[in-house]
Amino acid sequence: MSDYETVIGLEVHVELATKTKIFCGCSTEFGGEPNTHTCPVCTGMPGSLPVLNRQVLEYAIAVGLATNCDITRYCKFDRKNYFYPDNPQNYQISQLYLPICRNGHVDIKTESGVEKAVRIHEIHMEEDAGKLIHDDWLDASLVDYNRSGVPLIEIVSEPDMRSAEEVIAYLEKLRMTISYLGASDCKLQEGSMRADVNLSVRKVGENEFGTRTEMKNLNSFKAIARAIAGETERQIDLIESGEKVVQETRRWDDDKECSYAMRSKEDAQDYRYFPDPDLVPVSVSDEMLDEIRAREPEFREAKIVRYAEEFGLPEKDILLITENKHLADIFEETVSCGAPAKKVSNWLMVETMRLLKENNLDPEDIRFSPAHLASLIDLTEQRTVNSTVAKEVFEDMFKTDCDPVKYVEEHGLATQNDEGALRETIQKVIADNPQSVEDYHNGKEKAIGFLVGQTMKAMQGKCDPGSVNKILKELL
């Protein structure tokens, strides 16, 4: 088996994070009752006309620039004609002849350390289709056009990948780049990022490519890895047993861990592509390119280097915080409010992550403001609240983005800084617990912990345990 090399190219569809659809003003929001996010345009009604959403163009260009593509300065939309009920016009508006981006590449680094560039053949803009629902009970098929007209970009790579590991590194790189740009959330499970895998095998050292197959329905990195392994093995078995690989589209069934043929090349349709006369050609101006370039964020690689240099954070912290741009933004803004970097990182890595997980949320969903996190950190630094109280405040802040200073005030959670009152309380605790005092004097160091606890309880937690400890030792 090791005499063979796997050759893989990817077609990746990414759903863009625009508020409205690519050619009409309907909402792109996921969910909603069937056919409620629709209008004459995205249901292909007669006489309706498409008008390009400029944000789609800007996102596509931003992705193209970030993946080192040439931007097509005069690009057009084409119609891809095929009959299917999820496609209301029976043609899809896409780009064939003059796609918006061409000739790019991304640099990838795999888990095992392989570094290489994967070339991008093109990126084009197109509209998504509706969703077909087969109702067995009614014995009928129903169509929901809410997704019809949701903007997509299709990123077509060259056949430059040689393993599942490289494929995953490439997809990770795309996901990170595109989500940093804010162009998409790139979730495979939810379908906002979809990958079709073109795969062939050949003997090591051969120059010609083997016959390739295209695999669809891959909705997790694990499914992709399994599908690549499965298809590689299937093709090698065919060749070894003297048979030929047939050029075809195959559907991966991740439960059964095998693929089956959907349609062969012979059944391939003639899509009769031609320029869509309803849309005017798009001219990309220098100003537009400059504006998009100027908006380009600092990407993860640069942040990783900078965080180590500027904040001296451990690698583990940096990798976690930069995993998501929103998280990194919160980190940076909190630090710029004056909070110590490591403290911020701790709050993000421990409490924030815990609450996200418990509430089944993503870092995107974080609502508390960096200024509030900074002031909470300040309260703990000033020992105005102890760590238990701080966690309580943070929980509320996570939910409601409350101002921690006000919260502490309103709930009377501030540590008692009145040493006189504290001394009085401690004296009372000492008087009430002679046994523990005796134990302490007999060398049982642990006994002081009990006395601290009693004092904290008497003070309703509003004191700093360090001070309690200090005063206790002094009075004992």
């Binding site: 004459p40 249901t43 292909g44 009604m45 007669p46 006489g47 309706s48 006309l49 498409p50 008008v51 390009l52 119609r79 004609n81 009959f83 009920p85 209301p88 016009q89 029976n90 043609y91 169509v143 003639d270 009769r272 592509y273 031609f274 006369p277 309803d278 849309l279 005017v280």
Partner: protein, 479 residues
């Protein structure tokens, strides 16, 4: 015709504005005229009498309150070609496949007319999906020419042109993809304008050849045409091909003055196939303009014979794709018995479309198919560019090009459909205008010895509708 239905649109509008005639009265008169005559002419697919009367009352109430005073067409009854979507009103494209289609939205041109206080009488007959030159390919039967009911009214906006000529509406909207406004205007003896591509929004116009289609007016005279064009033109955010330019009042161009106008007559337009009576009438029209002070010259336009094949390639290609949405799934005609999805598509479309539409879908699918795209479709686009260049060269020398609209007067019913190639060749003088995106107008210029109307066609460079209207107006007032 009654006194009211004899008035042109602007005169009726003035009479309504002055209170001399009430909108309801005018609407009633037109509905009566339709009832009396449409059994003969079949101009309408749908007459929307009840709602027209309701609209007339509302508009009259607004006029009584002093509203709509800036709209010269307020209260004037209009007919709309049945390929423009009208909210809540059946829109069929004269096809079985849309026999029950009621849009939930309004085409921009119709919305603009409603805003201007128009009363919509109904939807006019046409060649199915605007494919044809005689209004005989309609699923709802042919329209007859009011000048002689044995003859066709032309097409595809034949219902609109005949309705204007017969006094079944004060004016009408048509659409022109290869001559579909100008040719029926010529055959019926009315005025028709095909505006520069991008002047009138196509939103809500059920597409035939998207890169060629334009909506325009069919009217009793040039002044009405200018007023209607003013009302329906202007940029529309819903149509990417609609040109973003300031709104224009085309009636400002209605001046009797052509002293600065240089007119070119393409020699190529007067060759074989042109009826001698038509040729004589058109030349006489040129003489009228010359006498009025215009410079008139003959010149070689070239490429005239390439326009027809280029047009039928491009229009059919676009149509084959535009008409894919009519599949019997979401609306319109669906076959009764079918076995599976593809059989349903095939049967619904086979039974829903007529012969001419099927012919063009097949032709269009062929020229776009893999292996033929370059040889046919791409080549046609190149020819289109060359034709545009030939016109650019001509308009460097002339303000207006003058010629015939069609080679003959209106043929008899049944003569054309048996020979589609002959029918296609009849479009020779009109289609290059659509390929080049130019504005064109057809103005009545005579009558043949057998009593059929003849039109003269004037063309101008893109967005020079004012020159076109001024020349047409001068001719109309002088002849």
């Amino acid at each position: 015709m009654s006194y009211i239905t004899e008035l042109d649109a602007l005169s009726l509008g003035r009479a309504i504005a002055s209170g001399e005639i009430r909108t309801t009265e005018a609407t009633e008169e037109y509905l009566k005229s339709i009832e009396e005559q449409d059994g003969t002419y079949n101009c309408y697919v749908t007459v929307d009498g009840d709602r027209a009367m309701e609209a007339a009352k509302e508009i009259q109430a607004r006029i009584d309150k002093g509203e709509l005073s800036d709209s010269p067409l307020a209260g004037v009854p209009v007919a709309i070609k049945d390929n423009m979507c009208t909210e809540g009103l059946l829109t069929t494209c004269s096809s079985r496949i849309l026999y029950n289609f009621v849009p939930t939205y309004e085409s921009t041109a119709v919305r603009k007319l409603r805003n201007a206080g128009a009363v919509i009488l109904g939807k006019t007959n046409m060649d199915e999906f605007a494919m044809g030159s005689t209004t005989e390919t309609s699923y709802f039967g042919p329209t007859r020419n009011p000048a002689d009911p044995e003859h066709v009214p032309g097409g595809s906006s034949g219902g609109s042109a005949a309705a204007v000529a017969a006094g079944e509406c004060a004016y009408a909207l048509g659409s022109d993809t290869g001559g579909s406004i100008r040719q029926p205007a010529s055959y019926c003896g009315v005025v028709g304008i095909k505006p520069t591509y991008g002047t009138v929004s196509r939103y809500g116009l059920i597409a035939y050849g998207s890169s060629l289609d334009q909506i325009g007016p069919l009217t009793r005279n040039v002044s009405d045409a200018a007023a209607v064009l003013t009302a329906i033109s202007g940029h529309d955010d819903k149509d990417s091909t609609s040109v973003d330019m300031p709104a224009k009042d085309y009636t400002q161009a209605l001046k009797k003055d052509v002293k600065d106008i240089k007119i070119g007559i393409p020699k190529d337009y007067f060759g074989e196939g042109l009826d001698h009576e038509v040729a004589a009438s058109v030349r006489a029209a040129a003489d009228v303009l010359k006498a009025a002070g215009a410079t008139v010259e003959e010149f070689d336009l070239s490429l005239v014979n390439y326009a027809i094949p280029a047009y039928y390639t491009i229009a059919a290609a676009e149509a084959s794709s535009n008409l894919e949405r009519f599949d019997g799934i979401k609306y319109g005609y669906r076959t009764e018995d079918f076995a599976g999805l593809h059989n349903m598509y095939k049967k619904s479309r086979s039974e829903g479309f007529g012969a001419e539409v099927k012919r063009r879908i097949m032709l269009g699918s062929f020229v776009l198919s893999s292996g033929y795209y370059d040889a046919y479709y791409l080549k046609a686009l190149k020819v289109k560019a060359l034709i545009k260049k030939a016109f650019d060269d001509a308009f460097a020398k002339y303000d207006i090009i003058l010629g015939p609209v069609a080679p003959t007067t209106a043929p008899k019913l049944g003569e054309s459909l048996s020979d589609p190639i002959k029918m296609y060749l009849g479009d020779i003088y009109t289609i290059s205008v659509n390929l080049a995106g130019l504005p064109g107008i057809s103005v009545p210029c005579g009558t043949s010895t057998d009593g059929l109307p003849i039109g003269v066609q004037l063309l101008a460079d893109c967005f020079n509708e004012e020159k076109l209207l001024r020349t047409a107006f001068t001719y109309e007032q002088t002849k």
